[in-house]
């Protein structure tokens, strides 16, 4: 009996020692990957930030209106934000790799999952950026065109258009990431549809007379605003 207990203990110790001998090198390797990854990610962040500054990315950001939106949201400038995002992508890649090196059962296949997600994440970021870019361009163009045409509520109209385009961009980005796709799409469709239907009913049925007056006044105002250039030349 005692012998059996002793054998079990020895066996257990042997198993532990074997596992420990196997685990320690993995732990060391994982630690090196983790630390090395941090340094690489830092390097990537600095290089990216400098490269973006070198190509005057801030001008593009300013021109697209992204700078203004980031400032409003109390976020860092666009080039810093992009560098930070890249830092986290690179470091997360190394962290996942380090965890994978430890060969924990529940985390098996994490690396493959991560690298499957990265391209989708980048595409989502691109879609989101395009949404901001197009949204801001349309906002500016609509605001100027509406002001030139003397439309009432020019700022409301242009801001609504910007919000709509950016919202579409956000939904497309989330869909790209595969996050609760059906819920997001359904929510967006319901909200957008309800808004448009509400506006159509309000303007088409409830406000026919108001719409008529508005359009007539608009036509008169437009004629009044179209100042002849001749006396200025």
């Amino acid at each position: 009996m005692i012998q059996e207990i002793a054998d079990a203990l020895v066996q257990s110790w042997k198993n532990f020692a074997e596992a420990f001998v196997l685990f320690v090198p993995r732990l060391v390797a994982a630690t090196i990957i983790f630390g090395g990854g941090f340094l690489v990610a830092l390097l990537v962040r600095r290089v990216t930030q400098r490269a973006l500054a070198w190509v005057n990315f801030d001008r593009l950001s300013l021109r697209s209106g992204a700078s203004e939106m980031l400032r409003t949201a109390d976020m860092p400038p666009a080039e810093v934000l992009i560098a930070k995002i890249l830092f986290w992508i690179v470091w997360l890649g190394f962290i996942v790799s380090a965890v994978d090196t430890l060969q924990f059962g529940p985390f098996q296949g994490l690396v493959q999952e991560f690298f499957r997600l990265v391209p989708r994440f980048l595409v989502a970021m691109l879609v989101l950026s395009m949404g901001f870019l197009v949204g801001n361009f349309l906002w500016r163009a609509t605001l100027l065109a509406s002001v030139n045409a003397g439309l009432p509520g020019a700022r409301l109209l242009s801001s609504a258009l910007r919000v709509l385009v950016i919202a579409i961009g956000v939904v497309m980005a989330l869909e790209q990431l595969g996050l609760a796709t059906s819920v997001i799409l359904t929510a967006f469709a319901i909200t957008f549809g309800a808004l448009m239907l509400g506006l159509a009913i309000a303007f088409g049925l409830g406000g026919q007379a108001a719409a008529k007056i508005l359009l007539e006044e608009q036509f008169r105002a437009k004629k009044k605003r179209d100042t002849d250039a001749a006396p200025h030349l």
Binding site: N56, R140, L144, V147, N148, A229, P231
Partner: protein, 424 residues
């Protein structure tokens, strides 16, 4: 460098080439771009022919009409306008054949295409002097045509631009914006940077053909200004000639459209000639030919209070856009001066605003078309303020204001140069 248009089949049609080859070499080529000018064209053509016969009988001359697709029979009228002696009372007989070539132009519609055809014809015929005449014919007489041809034909000058005796409250877009800006930036005392008539040497015509302006979208309306600024940038001897003030046809374009076009034209020129104007300093005053008309006609009256009200409304609407264009300190001052009924945009604030917009174009703070639209209400505010401030003021005092504005543009030019050259 663009391809030489003479070698470019789309510039000169086979029929036009055939006609020009038949004409051979000429000394003076008069170009007449037309578009529905039936009301005036016959008088203009006769004035040109009288000028040729009476004043340049020994020179080889040709009149080239470049028509943009008139629907009122303008080309037929030119074809049938007689060059016979009966039209040329008291003129001498022509010693040479009077040539007349009609050329419906090809390519993109617009004045630049018509001018390009005329310049290409000048190059092909090796014209020594090229004169472009306004087909709307305001004040066009044989004497005026001769005045325009003679200085260049004699070799006294390489580029001749019209100059008008204006009332100081007339042509506010010119006096408050275009003239002082071009004067300060290009360091040249050009009074009318936007006029349509001009005379130049055949060599300058060939030079212009080689530039890439013709393919630019904005060339359609920027070509007149570009030709003048190109002459300045090439350090040609530039002069001016007195012409009667034209009366622009009412209802052709709205003020906003014209401001938009003028801003795009200026941007085109500033970009094209930056290597010249960034270094240009002392202003060259230009010699003026012709007879000074003396008294300036009374300016047209317009409702500047309504314009000021429109400007106030529009500026308050586009406030967030202006914030991205103007420097923070300047933005606050401009908003104070334009959206309140208090002090107006004074000279210095106006000039700094203009230069800020130029810098914004350079640094791509917004699309140029958007910047042009943003600029419109600011100009409207300034124009209305100028008219209100000078209401009832003696003419010399108004003229002093105009001179002072030119000085302010010149004094603050270093800020534009610094902002333009700034890479940040």
């Amino acid at each position: 460098m663009a391809q030489n248009p003479v070698e470019h089949e789309s510039t000169l049609s086979d029929e036009l080439l055939r006609q020009l080859i038949a004409v051979g070499q000429v000394d003076v080529l008069v170009g007449l771009p037309t578009l529905n000018n039936a009301a005036t064209i016959v008088d203009v053509v006769r004035s040109v022919s009288v000028s040729f016969t009476r004043d340049f009988p020994r020179l080889r001359t040709v009149l080239i009409n470049s028509d943009g697709g008139s629907t009122d029979g303008t080309p037929d009228l030119i074809r049938s306008a007689s060059f016979v002696e009966g039209d040329m009372v008291q003129t001498s007989h022509a010693l040479r054949t009077l040539h007349r070539v009609l050329a419906p132009y090809h390519g993109l519609p617009g004045k630049h295409t018509a001018l390009r055809t005329v310049l290409a014809a000048a190059e092909l015929t090796q014209a020594k002097a090229l004169v472009v005449v306004d087909a709307s014919g305001q004040g066009t007489t044989a004497d005026r045509i001769t005045e325009l041809i003679a200085p260049v034909a004699r070799g006294d000058i390489e580029f001749l631009a019209p100059r008008y005796r204006r009332h100081p409250r007339d042509g506010v877009l010119i006096t408050q914006f275009v003239r002082p800006l071009v004067r300060a930036v290009y360091s040249i005392g050009l009074d009318e940077p936007l006029g349509s008539e001009f005379a130049c040497t055949g060599r300058f015509a060939s030079h212009c053909l080689e530039q890439d302006i013709w393919s630019h979208e904005s060339a359609r309306f920027a070509i007149d200004l570009w030709l003048r600024t190109e002459a300045a940038a090439q350090r040609l001897s530039v002069g001016q000639i007195w012409r009667p003030v034209g009366t622009p046809g009412a209802g052709r374009a709205t003020l906003r459209e014209v401001i938009h076009q003028v801003v795009l034209s200026l941007v085109e020129s500033l970009r094209a000639h930056e290597s010249f104007w960034l270094k240009a300093n002392a202003i060259t005053e230009l010699r003026t030919w012709g007879v000074d008309p003396g008294n300036a006609p009374e300016p047209a009256t317009w409702d500047y209070d309504a314009l000021a009200e429109q400007a106030r409304h529009d500026i308050s609407q586009i406030k967030p856009l202006l914030e991205g264009v103007l420097e923070p300190g300047l933005f606050v001052r401009v908003m104070d001066a334009t959206t309140n009924s208090g002090p107006h945009l004074d000279d210095e604030l106006w000039v700094r605003t203009v230069y800020s917009f130029a810098a914004a174009v350079r640094h791509g703070r917004a699309a140029v078309e958007h910047l042009a639209d943003m600029f419109a209400p600011l100009y409207m505010s300034r124009a209305a303020a100028f008219m209100a401030d000078t209401e009832g003021e003696p003419l010399p005092a108004v003229q002093t204001r105009l001179d002072s504005l030119c000085d302010t543009f010149q004094r603050l030019k270093p800020t534009l140069v610094a902002a333009w050259a700034d890479n940040v």
